[in-house]
């Protein structure tokens, strides 16, 4: 399976969770250990090795803060 990598521009995340809801690998979560300048818990991924690079998250992100790379 293809491997992917996502990067979030976290200072612009509004914590809407749409990316969380469409991730087939279910690896995106809102990082409650931190708060961005807008006051939201930003979306993040820690198990990046499970990312398949499908770009579902980036496609649905209303604020265009996600970049996806794939092998």
């Amino acid at each position: 399976m293809a491997s992917g990598k996502v990067t979030f521009r976290q200072e612009r995340c509004k914590g809407c969770s749409l990316c969380v809801s469409v991730c087939p690998a279910k690896i995106i979560f809102l990082d409650e250990s931190t708060t961005n300048i807008k006051g939201y818990h930003p979306a993040t991924v820690t198990e990046m090795d499970r990312c398949i690079g499908c770009a579902n998250c980036a496609r649905i992100c209303p604020d265009s803060i996600i970049t996806v790379e794939r092998n």
């Binding site: 509004k14 809407c16 469409v22 770009a55 992100c61 209303p62 265009s64 970049t67 092998n71």
Partner: protein
């Protein structure tokens, strides 16, 4: 690793003011990506409406114009007629297009004006705080219909795509939504087709996008997508309502 998805060059770097999870941002991206792919960003003029997307002129990386409430089609008509080689689009919500601006959109379609309208239908007035719109569903609650829209009193929601599809000047009318990645891809295909038909000079084109308003619906962004699927899609069926190219091919 190769980049497979990144922010479109069709958008400026200005932060969107929309509420968390508002689908305006998704539709902005689709329009921006389409203009980028068609390589017409330097040749496009958009017309922003009044409503939540009033600041759209700050977000699209092309020339933009603001219009009075509901009058974007009139402004776009002027721009397109003076600069016929340019790509012109309006971006309007349901309060703008289906209420105060109904006359303008109907007559722009009737005249077969060769611009594209992106119509965001979220069944409510967003910016002003969740009042009932002409597109509000029967039974749907709004600040001005606290018990839900009563058909006897306020009628039923207006279906703009179906109505405009009866007009000869319209070249392409489709209703899409952006509730899933698959639907987002379909919506982009529709938007691209509309712009391509505009470039081909076929006539008026409009893509209606069923959208959410999590804040005024009182739902989380994810719940709002589900509510849209379960309630709005049955009332506003998805599909192509007019396609002049399909008729020409017959």
């Amino acid at each position: 690793m190769a980049i497979v998805y990144q922010k479109s060059k069709g958008l400026t770097d200005v932060e969107l003011h929309y509420c968390p999870g508002c689908t305006h941002g998704i539709v902005h991206k689709l329009v921006a990506e389409t203009l980028e792919e068609l390589d017409v960003l330097g040749n496009t003029i958009g017309v922003a409406p009044v409503g939540c997307s009033v600041f759209a002129y700050k977000y699209f990386n092309c020339d933009m114009h603001e219009a009075a409430h509901g009058r974007a089609p009139a402004v776009a008509t002027g721009i397109k007629r003076v600069l016929p080689e340019h790509i012109v689009f309006t971006y309007q919500g349901d309060g703008d297009l289906a209420a105060i601006g109904t006359a303008e959109i109907v007559h722009a379609a009737m005249r077969g004006e060769k611009f594209t309208t992106i119509f965001i239908n979220n069944a409510i007035y967003g910016m002003t705080g969740g009042q009932m719109a002409p597109t509000t569903l029967v039974g749907q609650r709004a600040t001005t219909a606290p018990l839900g829209r009563d058909r006897e009193h306020y009628g039923s929601p207006i279906r703009m795509s179906e109505m405009l599809a009866t007009i000869d000047g319209a070249a392409y009318i489709e209703r899409v939504t952006v509730t899933t990645p698959a639907n987002i891809i379909k919506a982009k295909r529709a938007i691209k087709k509309a712009f391509q038909l505009q470039i081909a000079g076929k006539g008026f084109t409009m893509i209606e996008v069923l959208s959410t308003c999590p804040t005024n619906w009182g739902l989380t962004p994810v719940e709002a997508l589900e509510w849209l699927n379960n309630n709005m899609v049955p009332a506003f069926p998805l599909g192509v309502f007019r396609d002049i190219t399909a008729e020409e091919a017959k």
